[in-house]
């Protein structure tokens, strides 16, 4: 670079010409640019340091936050399916135990202990099993136990502080139970082969015989009433029972 006045050689840092003293405009511009670049450099350096320091301070917390958010989603999903998981565990336990308990259940049935059968069956959740050969017998036995239970309250109503409404309710339940016992094939017609194998029919017959005798002895029904239960509505049956036990 040369001086525009004397043609002498100028350096980029020379503010004036060392030969004639003329000011060097290029040097002034250069210094101004350099000052601007230094300022920008300093600002960028500061920002980089600042950001690096934030990550250093909060990096582990951010990781924990992300993990917690994932865990939160997992927890919400677990809440939503918790009942299904618990139910599935019960069902699997019932399946596992059924093999060992079959002898116990069969023993109760052979002894005619239908109440114990129902109690044991229910306590061990066997009603949760989809392929259950005892299902129909259990339904009949459960209704049979309700009949037994009601004998005491029908025969001794004062001891139960029964109101007329209570007697009506009881007679309604009795009618439903009697109807259930005598219409099992109809109720389970879709899966009757699966739920009522031939080996179980003997127990159904026995429960029906007992139910019939209980109904005629304690609930005032006649043998003809019992025989017509499958064709009678539960409402009609309840009315007959209520009329007979009230008289």
């Amino acid at each position: 670079m040369k001086c525009p006045n004397c043609g002498g050689q100028l350096g980029i840092e020379d503010e004036t010409c060392p030969y004639c003293g003329t000011p060097n405009a290029m040097a002034v511009q250069h210094q101004s640019d350099m000052a601007k670049y230094r300022a920008e450099y300093a600002r960028t350096q500061h920002e980089v340091l600042e950001n690096t320091s934030f990550m250093k301070r909060h990096g582990s917390w951010l990781v924990i936050l992300v993990v917690l958010l994932v865990a939160l989603v997992g927890g919400i999903v677990l809440q939503a399916v918790s009942w299904d998981i618990g139910y599935s565990i019960r069902e699997n336990n019932a399946k596992r135990d059924m093999a060992a308990d079959k002898q116990v259940l069969d023993g109760y049935l052979e002894q005619g202990d239908y109440g114990k059968f129902v109690g044991y069956y229910d306590a061990n959740d066997y009603y949760l099993m989809s392929d259950d050969p005892y299902r129909v017998v259990r339904a009949a036995a459960n209704s049979y136990t309700n009949l037994i239970e009601c004998v005491s309250s029908i025969k001794d109503p004062d001891n139960y502080s029964f109101s007329p409404d209570s007697i009506s309710y009881t007679c309604g339940y009795l009618a439903e139970d009697l109807n259930r016992i005598y219409t099992l094939e109809e109720q389970y017609s879709r899966n009757i082969g699966e739920y009522l194998p031939d080996s179980m029919r003997v127990y159904i017959d026995d429960i029906r015989e007992r139910a019939g005798f209980i109904a005629t002895t304690y609930f005032g029904l006649t043998q003809e009433d019992v025989e017509s239960i499958p064709d009678m509505s539960t409402r009609k049956l309840a009315e007959i029972i209520e009329e007979r036990v009230s008289s």
Binding site: H58, W61, L62, I64, L65, L68, L69, A71, L72, G75, I76, L78, Q79, S82, W83, I85, G86, Y87, I89, R90, N93, D97, D101, V104, G115, K116, V118, G119, Y120, D122, A123, N124, D125, T145, I148, E149, C150, V151, S152, S153, I154, K155, D156, N159, Y160, R210, F213, I214, T216, T217, Y218
Partner: protein, 139 residues
């Protein structure tokens, strides 16, 4: 004047702590719910439940309690065992009377034999046997 500086908690830390508490509560209740569903809702009865029905002559209720309180791992106290025997005595008495009045004496005798078995287990409730028969046979 003393220069007091207050320790200011980072908002990020506060969010993390709140989230952590929510997650713990969420998983805890989910596990409790699974456990409860897996255990089922089988009713549990104590001696008072049995004794109330037995002493008040509510044999139907006693029978119901006895059946609901069955399970393979259940053990019973001596007084509960007596109440349970009374419940089954009541069942056999109902059947014995029903078969007897219907003229099925063979089966009635079989039920009577089982009544005797349960009667021998009644212990301090032995006097209740007559009351059961009175309720069932006469009302």
């Amino acid at each position: 004047m003393k220069n007091v500086t207050t320790a200011k908690q980072s908002p990020l830390k506060v969010v993390v702590i709140i989230l952590a508490v929510i997650v713990v509560v969420l998983y805890g209740t989910a596990i409790l719910s699974i456990n409860e569903t897996a255990r089922g809702l089988n009713a549990e009865y104590d001696a008072r439940d049995y004794l109330y029905s037995a002493e008040h002559g509510r044999y139907g209720n006693l029978y119901d309690t006895t059946l609901r309180d069955m399970g393979k791992k259940t053990t019973y106290s001596a007084e509960v065992e007596e109440c349970r025997a009374l419940a089954f005595y009541y069942e056999q008495a109902v059947l014995e009377h029903a078969y007897r009045v219907t003229g099925k004496t063979d089966k009635a005798d079989a039920f009577a034999a089982r009544m005797k078995e349960y009667e021998s287990e009644l212990g301090s409730l032995a006097k209740k046997a007559a009351d059961v028969r009175a309720v069932v046979n006469e009302g």
